[in-house]
Amino acid sequence: MKKFWIALPLAALALSACVTINIYFPAAAAEKAADKIIEEVWQMQQSDKPATVKETK
Amino acid sequence: MRYLTRICREALILFGMLLICFAARGSELTLTIGDIASPAFRASGIRLALPTDGSAELNIAKLNVDQREFRRVRVRCARFTLSPSQLACRQGRLDAIPDARLEFSYGFATRQLQASLLAPGGESWQVSGQLAESAWQLAVQLRQAQVRRLSFLLPTKMPQISQGALTGVLRLSGDASGMQGAGVDLQLVQTGFSNADGLHAAEKLGGKVSFTAKRTGFVWNWQGNVVWQSGELFWQPLYLTGGHALSGSGSFDGRVINIKQALVQLPGAGQVQLTGLWNVPPASLQEGSLRGSGLDLAALFSTYAQPYLEKGSLSDAALYGHADVAAYYRRGELQSLRLNLHEAGISDASHRYALLGVNSDIDWRLDAASVAVIDFAGGALLGAPIGAGQWRVKMDGLKFEVPQASLQILDGSLNLQDFHLQRAPLPPPCDGCTPAWHWAFSASLLPVSMDKISQTAGWPVMLGTLAARIPKVSYDGHAIKVEGALLFNVFDGTVVATGLELNDAFGRAPRLSGNLAMRNLDLDLLTRTFSFGNMQGRLDADVKKLQLQDWQPLSFEARLYSSAGRYPKKISQKAVQNISSLGGSGAAAAIQRSFLGFFENFGYDSIGWSCIMRNGICQMGGIEGTDGHGSGMYEIVRGGGIPAITVMGYNRSVSWVELTQRLKRVTQGNAKPVVQ
């Protein structure tokens, strides 16, 4: 039981550390932003937009 | 040319060896030689077969000329004769050019060489030579000779010749000590070449080349003439068409090419005379001079300079007028430049700047000081016209100074003092820390009327003046910084701009930052100018940390408030409605519409409004200290006098685009304000 309480914060710490990397550069948001700009610059119709914008977490 | 003679000699050596070591085997003579090698030429697996029918066949398994390799080279002679006095090949065929006929003969005693290659379409290559050691000469006569057959002479990294024909003659002569004379007289037609990516290519080139060189002792004296008559050339980033010509003469001592005089015809631009010393081993210009008069600046700039300036602020510019130029270059640096400008000008395609009718006689030297007087007839800066003027520029090497100058702008004038321009390295971090031009000056702007400025800028007509006293404006290669203040006398009050800094000034989206302090603006004048319902009183405003990008607000912290002091304070019913409508459909003022209808004007005690703009959202507030109402409401107008009115806002955040659109609707007055 005691071990569990020690392990939990450590796991949380590890998790937050892991998330920090994720935050360091928001890849999904950047892809979304890139797609938005690309559509405008290339004046693409929404219809030919491939459904590849993945929601990552 | 030396290369050609070398090949000829090597060919002779080959024949010589054939003679010495052939051997009989059965009814056919076969001779094999392992290798013949020299620095530029190497042949291996050589086999000569002489059947008894009088023919001959020469096979070379591998032939290397320079960096090129040919495999299985085969020459067949239908009639081959070899006697102690002569070697001859009649009705020969070269496998590489199957439809051409090859003939050659060489007399051992006479040392006469005759060779010819005839191909369909009237193409012929004829070589005749007298190859005596003491005095040899070689002539190559070409008629419709396909240029691509010479590809093997060019280094492999050069563009590949696809078509074209040569007609003319090439002569070489010499003695035991080497070549003594060379002459070329060739006409080139319909020549094209290109490298794989098409960045270095030409089509339908036509022209004439004549060149002669004679050796005296160790020195070659040469003269040449190249006329490029037709066709087009793209040599990234230059695009040139026919009409160019070059003629010149000079000498060559094995290390340095001395161009004693050369004349270059640049179509549309004029003539340029050149002299120079070109070092051959390090391929560098040791010394050179350039001279041209009446050069057309428009053609010169657009054809020869602009393609290289695709990134700078000059990439969109056009030049006008004429110039006389004399420049002298030595030891890696420009030493002197004499530039006479005749009615010259420059203007930017996006109308940011223009300077026209420039006349000047500039005599610049790297190691001496001088003064240039530059007269100009006028111009424009950011849409505002500039009047005629004269600048005296002190020059000392790469330092330029204008102690005093003035620019007539609209009805005022910008007086510059201590303008300094010099080249210095950028402080790190920077792009390779290459030197960039830095400049700085101090200036005062004598009053320009605001109605002229607003006309030029397309703003509502404002009265008042703009004046400024600027201790220092500087540019360090990145940003333009303004120390001191710009003072606008507008609306009977003052607007002072401080801490101005313009980053990426010549980029796509210039970024301006600074602070504005407005004092005692007359609300009556202000509301009239922008046709916002009438208000009376005085207003102060502070805009801090203002950031404009592409001249659009990016972020700022603005606060408007009633000026201190005693003065009449009145607000019209229309203004109240307009202020209320700025809150949008979700915003409302704590006012009664029925009550509003009775009075035209109301009294007030103070006005206050603030907006902190970030990421396109304006966080609003009211008169300072009125935020404590708990409900999130704030006072924009606090009532006072009779009849009094208080305007409350409760919507704290609004999109900046939305707010400016509403303001536009209100000031244009053609939309009815919506009061809820």
């Binding site: 020690i6 998330v19 994720n22 935050i23 290339w42 491939p50 | 592409d550 396109g616």
Partner: protein, 138 residues
């Protein structure tokens, strides 16, 4: 024990809030981005024909390159060259501007590489794109 629990919860809360931040959109609606975007939009009308003919291709690093100038008449090569240079200048400015607008100038390289992948992925069939250092046609 209770303290530990609170500590853990705080940790988790922090994690969650950070996650939210990561999911948020990137700010791309600044005057700078808009100015660059409209300049690129205007240029695209001229460039699209060159993408289609293969004269210009999309590079893996989010730029464009003159791939095969011989697909363009000689007299037009200089202007294609200038278009490519101007487009690349805008693209570089765009990536820097997005990074700056989000207050993370150090993201510039990653933004560029994200854009590099997206431009290529969204390219029309027939256009030339760079992959593994070589050119291939989509």
């Amino acid at each position: 024990m209770k303290k530990l629990l609170r500590y853990t919860t705080a940790m988790l809360t922090l994690t969650v809030s950070l996650n939210v931040m990561a999911a948020a959109d990137l700010e791309v609606n600044t005057p700078g981005v808009n100015a660059i975007k409209s300049s690129m939009q205007a240029r695209h009308a001229q460039l699209s024909a060159y993408y289609a003919s293969g004269a210009v291709g999309l590079t893996a690093d989010g730029m464009i390159a003159l791939r095969d100038a011989s697909a363009v008449p000689m007299a037009a090569r200089q202007s294609v060259n200038a278009l490519v240079a101007a487009e690349n200048q805008d693209r570089g400015a765009l990536y820097a501007e997005i990074a700056n607008a989000n207050a993370h100038p150090e993201w510039q390289a990653e933004i560029r590489s994200t854009f590099g992948q997206r431009w290529i992925q969204r390219a029309q069939p027939g256009w030339w794109v760079q992959s593994n250092g070589g050119w291939m046609q989509k």
